[in-house]
């Protein structure tokens, strides 16, 4: 266990060195936040109460989302794309050599990254937004542990998806195409383009059942207290997907390990 902790800590430190990148990232998040607020204000002005959100919910959604894009790994999760790169280049052989579990190793790396980005970037857009707009915060202290748990599960579900995508390189040589495709799905179904609550009819039902919903929409709804089935059901939903995806990840690792041929030299 100690080794995975050590990996996570080092990954945290590694990401903490990119200071200017962090600041300029926060600036960009804030610009997008204001653009989306302009759009959502117009939309919710035309249709008050759309999807069960009031105006304040919609605006809070924007700033939470902008803070979570990087930590959750919708954008810029360089850890798993690095794994994909290692599969492509063959450097993965070194990783498989180590007396550690491949999945746990990269999960630790990703959690270290996510923790840094959550602390450094997660709250900043929310602060910017709160200066200008009237935003919602969890109503009681008891809700905070649930918010944290929801975020952790969301990050891990996101990792599990990205891990599978990176490992696809074992079969199709270059996982970058798959990464792009996964990006489309996550942009759409995590609620990045529009909160999933605003999706009409069957599209909304499907969108809310996908694992991507568990990465961002669900944690944000826990914060807002807007999960249709309550917070407990929402956490269970996240946990269910996490279990399925991690098992699939472990299975893929086993199959890939059997398949890999290391070039001699």
């Amino acid at each position: 266990m100690g080794v995975y902790w050590a990996i996570a800590v080092r990954s945290f430190r590694r990401f903490s060195t990119y200071r200017i990148a962090t600041v300029s990232g926060i600036f960009t998040n804030s610009v997008f936040g204001f653009i989306l607020c302009g759009v959502y204000l117009t939309l919710w002005h035309e249709r008050p109460g759309l999807g069960g959100y009031d105006v304040s919910d919609a605006l809070t959604f924007v700033w939470l989302q902008q803070g979570l894009l990087m930590p959750v790994g919708i954008f810029g999760a360089s850890t798993t794309s690095e794994l994909g790169e290692r599969v492509r280049s063959g450097a993965i052989a070194v990783d498989l050599y180590r007396p550690t579990q491949l999945l746990l190793w990269w999960l630790s790396v990703d959690l270290g990254r996510a923790t840094f980005q959550l602390l450094a970037r997660g709250g900043a857009p929310l602060l910017v937004g709160a200066l200008v707009f009237d935003l919602k915060f969890p109503s009681s202290v008891a809700l905070w542990p649930l918010v944290v748990l929801g975020l952790l599960l969301g990050i891990m579900v996101s990792f599990a998806i990205r891990y599978l995508v990176a490992l696809s390189g074992f079969w199709i040589t270059d996982s970058r195409g798959m990464e792009q495709l996964a990006l489309v799905l996550s942009l759409f179904f995590a609620g990045t383009i529009l909160p999933l609550v605003a999706f009409p009819g069957w599209l909304g039902v499907i969108a809310r059942a996908t694992p991507w919903a568990a990465t961002m929409q669900v944690p944000i709804d826990i914060w807002l207290g807007r999960n249709p089935g309550g917070t407990g059901a929402a956490l269970l939903f996240q946990f269910g997907w996490l279990l399925v995806l991690l098992l699939a990840g472990q299975l893929a690792t086993t199959l890939a390990t059997r398949k890999v041929v290391i070039q001699g030299g």
Partner: protein, 267 residues
Amino acid sequence: MIRAPAQYWLLIVMWIRSVLAYPASFVLMLVSSTLVNLTDFVAVLIMFSHITAFGGFSLGEMALLYATSSTALGMADLLTGSIERVGERIRTGAFDAYLIRPVPAFLQAAADGFALRRLGRPLQAGTVLVFALSKVDIDWTVARGIMLAVSLVTGTVIFAALFVLGASFQFVAIDSAELANSVTYGGQALTQFPLTVFGKEIVRAVTFVVPLAFVNYYPVLYVLGKPAPLGLPSWIGLLSPLVAAVMVALSSLAWRAGLRRYRSTGS
């Protein structure tokens, strides 16, 4: 100068051949790049399943704004978007390699890692443009037709100039690539909507400070025969070529200044 287009072409052909080495992955990337951008427009469609007009624009008019903005950014991103990666080369000192080759550093940086998959955005935007034109009832005149065609080019040039300005800034602040994204990709996100919904200050800012409103908003207002905000004349869209020229001049000065400032890395 005269040889520049041929040199640029030579560089991008090399990169195209390199991505085609993994054909399955390339096809996936092109398809998914088209789809990534399609999601933006699907968001607009979903919004219009709840409303009939957004800031005074109908679905067809919104589609026209979206298509013009997305084409402009897509083409600029395809042709010069790679330049945002100079920060990485400046940090590692690999920028030196650009300076010793007999091709301008600007061309090499713009063509570096040329990503043909970025064609996905203009392709998708073109489809939306056809949809928009079939849906909006435009009172066509020769001037309006020319304005629409010209705006696609000037919009591309304005966005390309912004990419170059962002890259030039990286000579001063390495790692600030994401900062430039806020005016390029952020600019696209902004200009796909009628700018008046963001308030007068934003309209002023994107008219007089970062002239994003000239990418497509003012030209489209002219094509649709809608009045311009802030009491500006309705023909203000016709100024977009002039704005594009000014932006090119500024970005070229900035790039040269950045290049002069480059000192390579130690040891």
